[in-house]
């Protein structure tokens, strides 16, 4: 990840909250600002979380090692030998950006899917459409989900097909994604609060911790 610490961007958005990377919190994630990387293409629709991480690998009580089983049944045969035709086993493709078809991350709410993607080394997933729960989970673990138009998604797939090393630049402060070789760019949406969290390495819990009194008063007024 490109380090822009100290840049104007960071000065503008920093505040008094402490990033979780500075705490002993085990689930700390890398701050996200600007990422330029080659990308791994997965041009399939409805990639569900059962494919991203099958249920039989959800038995851990700690968050580690999930990357080994990312896309397990697409990636490995029953005897654990790699399936040569799956993209993660193709040495041509690598990078910190995963590009998927529409309705990426549908199905189960298992955050293990986002953990597996992060643990494998991805920091950004691009698609034309994300399932809601996956999108929340991704942001909560420090993965930026970037929603692009179907047309731009096609352009990205074409760029990668033309050159497996084609780079994309994802600029979170500016909310843009660019195909480096052609300069083609599109802006993406993210709400200001979540953007602020990702750039600073914050999460929701520290925000809510500061609201305890307000929450306590609210709770006391609930009928049940």
């Amino acid at each position: 990840m490109l380090d822009v610490k100290g840049s104007e961007v960071e000065k503008l958005i920093a505040d008094s909250r402490q990033p979780i990377t500075d705490s002993p919190q085990k689930m700390a994630y890398d701050k996200f600002t600007i990422l330029t990387s080659s990308a791994v293409p997965l041009p399939l629709e409805n990639v569900d979380t059962d494919q991203i991480i099958p249920a039989r690998f959800l038995k851990a009580t700690e968050r580690k090692g999930f990357g080994d089983n990312l896309f397990r049944d697409w990636r490995y045969n029953g005897d654990d030998t790699p399936k040569a035709d799956f993209v993660l086993n193709n040495p041509l493709y690598s990078g910190k950006i995963l590009v998927g078809g529409r309705n990426f991350g549908s199905g189960s709410s298992r955050e293990h899917a986002a953990w597996a993607i992060y643990d494998y080394g991805f920091r950004c997933v691009v698609s034309s459409f994300f399932a809601d729960i996956f999108k929340n989970n991704a942001i909560n673990v420090g993965i930026l989900p970037v929603t692009v138009s179907p047309e731009f998604l096609d352009k990205i797939f074409q760029a990668i097909e033309k050159d497996a090393n084609a780079e994309l630049t994802v600029n979170l402060p500016e909310q843009t994604i660019t195909i480096v070789a052609t300069g083609e760019s599109e802006s993406f949406d993210i709400n200001g609060y979540k953007k602020h969290n990702l750039i600073n390495g914050y999460d929701d819990i520290d925000y809510l911790q500061a609201m305890k009194e307000e929450i306590g008063a609210f709770e006391a007024a609930r009928p049940y």
């Binding site: 002993p24 085990k26 409805n46 249920a55 038995k59 009580t61 709410s109 307000e214 929450i215 009928p223």
Partner: protein, 467 residues
């Protein structure tokens, strides 16, 4: 209170907003939080590493279900990883003073079955759980949705969740469902019409004759599968049926508190003229028993229909071809008559007493096909007891079926209940994804009646033949 017409969803959501963040999510208070053994251990680890506790432990309820065996539950759990998760749930709930209905507890069962049957789920509540089928509880007029583990930690720490308010969709089905057409068919029909992502970004309200006339069990089946159309959740306005179901349940309000609650719940309906971002309306007469033939819940159709051609489905051609290839099916084939190997009756979708009654109505006086392995898994011990009390167990036994013990079982196949590679299962569960019921397993989602007909004949069969 403004006089502006308001939706059921807005009434419940707005009553729970603790704070609105500009250009950000709402801070939403959560009345009830369910946890289970699979998605909670890391959340508790997070609390520990932050050095914080559980803010309102009496608002969280734990049950073990996802990863539990469905036979010999009195014995130690053989898989050490599964046993470890169950132990973690026991330890964590004891440490923080959270109610825990673990394996062997008389109230143990699938989280979305035991919550309602014990009156923990009530109208007008906000309810979350680290499980996408939390949408089930929307049947009671609650806003209920699935969350990830970071959010489980968030709710434990603060009893709140940070969510942008979703858009609103209403799905109306008028008329009367035909003979042999169950709530499962109604919801599979909707998903086949709008696709597995048709409601992504929305919260759904189900309205119209069909849902008004539906039992609470049926409403739970429908709301359960809201997530399979991409919706965060789905809900149905509470009515006399809802109140009758809840009255007297263990944790339902009692006495004056009950009267006050009902008075409030009666206001929980969408006002005439309230706006939705998107509406769909269907006619019950168009719905026949449904079955899926592909690898997402949107790839389903009427049981008498043929598998559609690629041009006629909403999914892209490459994904559709991959899906049919996985299933071993081809375009334009008849689904009726396809040989099947397994039948699964159970899950948070169809593991309730009505589902067992429906299944029994078909198998009564008939015999299970020799080539079919059938797993019948009640959603809870309370359902299990009802099955015995009503004489359903005798009917099932007579027909050559056995009953297993409660749990999520083959719905997600985390335990040993896995459909073998290449085998076909007619399943009353909620997902037909590749490998969902075991690596290489091929799932056809259907109602308990369709499952029963398949169990008797060993092939996909229209259950209306037996009614």
């Amino acid at each position: 209170m403004s006089n502006q017409p308001t939706t059921l969803f807005d009434k419940v959501w707005d009553a729970h907003v603790v704070r609105k963040i500009a250009d950000g999510p709402d801070v939403l208070f959560i009345d009830r939080h369910f946890i289970h053994e699979v998605t909670s251990p890391v959340a508790f680890l997070g609390l520990e590493s932050r050095g914080i506790g559980v803010l309102f432990p009496n608002r969280t309820f734990a049950t073990a279900d996802h990863n539990t065996p469905t036979i010999n539950q009195h014995l130690p759990v053989a898989d050490p990883l599964s046993a470890n998760q169950l132990k973690a749930l026991e330890t964590n709930t004891a440490k923080y003073g959270i109610s825990h209905w673990g394996l062997g507890h008389q109230k143990n069962g699938i989280v979305h079955v035991v919550g309602p049957e014990n009156g923990i789920t009530l109208p007008g509540m906000t309810i979350v759980c680290g499980d996408s089928h939390t949408s089930t509880h929307g049947a009671f007029g609650a806003i209920a949705f699935g969350i990830g583990t970071s959010e489980v930690e968030m709710v434990l720490a603060s009893q709140c969740i940070m969510q942008p308010k979703p858009k609103k969709m209403r799905i109306t089905i008028n008329g009367q469902l035909g003979k042999g057409v169950l709530p499962k068919d109604a919801v599979l029909y909707i998903i086949s019409q709008i696709s597995a992502s048709g409601a992504t970004g929305y919260f759904v309200e189900y309205a119209g004759d069909v849902f008004e006339n539906m039992s609470m069990e049926g409403r739970m089946t429908v709301c359960n599968m809201s997530i399979e159309m991409g919706a965060r959740g789905g809900m149905i306005a509470p009515d006399e049926k809802t109140f009758a179901y809840l009255n007297g349940r263990e944790q339902s309000p009692k006495g004056e508190a009950w009267e006050n609650a009902v008075a409030y719940w009666q206001t929980l309906k969408t006002d005439e003229g309230a706006g939705f971002d998107l509406e769909y309306t269907y006619d019950a007469a168009d719905i026949e028993p449904q079955i899926t033939y592909g690898t997402n819940p949107g790839l389903g159709t009427g049981i008498t229909k043929h598998i559609p051609k690629a041009a006629d489905v909403l999914d892209g051609a490459a994904s559709y071809a991959k899906s049919l290839n996985y299933m071993g099916f081809a375009e334009d084939e008849s689904i009726l008559g396809k040989a099947i190997d397994f039948v699964f009756l159970g899950s948070c979708t169809n593991g309730r007493i009505e589902d067992f009654r429906a299944f029994a109505s078909v198998v009564k006086g008939r015999k299970k096909a020799d080539n079919v392995t059938a797993w019948l898994v009640p959603g809870s011990h309370i359902v299990e007891a009802q099955i015995q009390e009503e004489g359903i167990l005798d009917i099932l036994t007579e027909a050559g079926f056995q009953l297993r013990q409660p749990g999520c079982s083959a719905c997600l196949a985390m335990n040993d209940d896995k459909i073998p590679a290449g085998k076909y299962a007619v399943s009353t569960s909620n997902r037909n994804f590749e490998g969902r019921q075991g690596p290489g397993a091929r799932t056809l989602l259907a109602s308990p009646l369709v499952a029963a007909a398949a169990a008797i004949t060993g092939k996909v069969t229209d259950p209306r033949e037996f009614l």
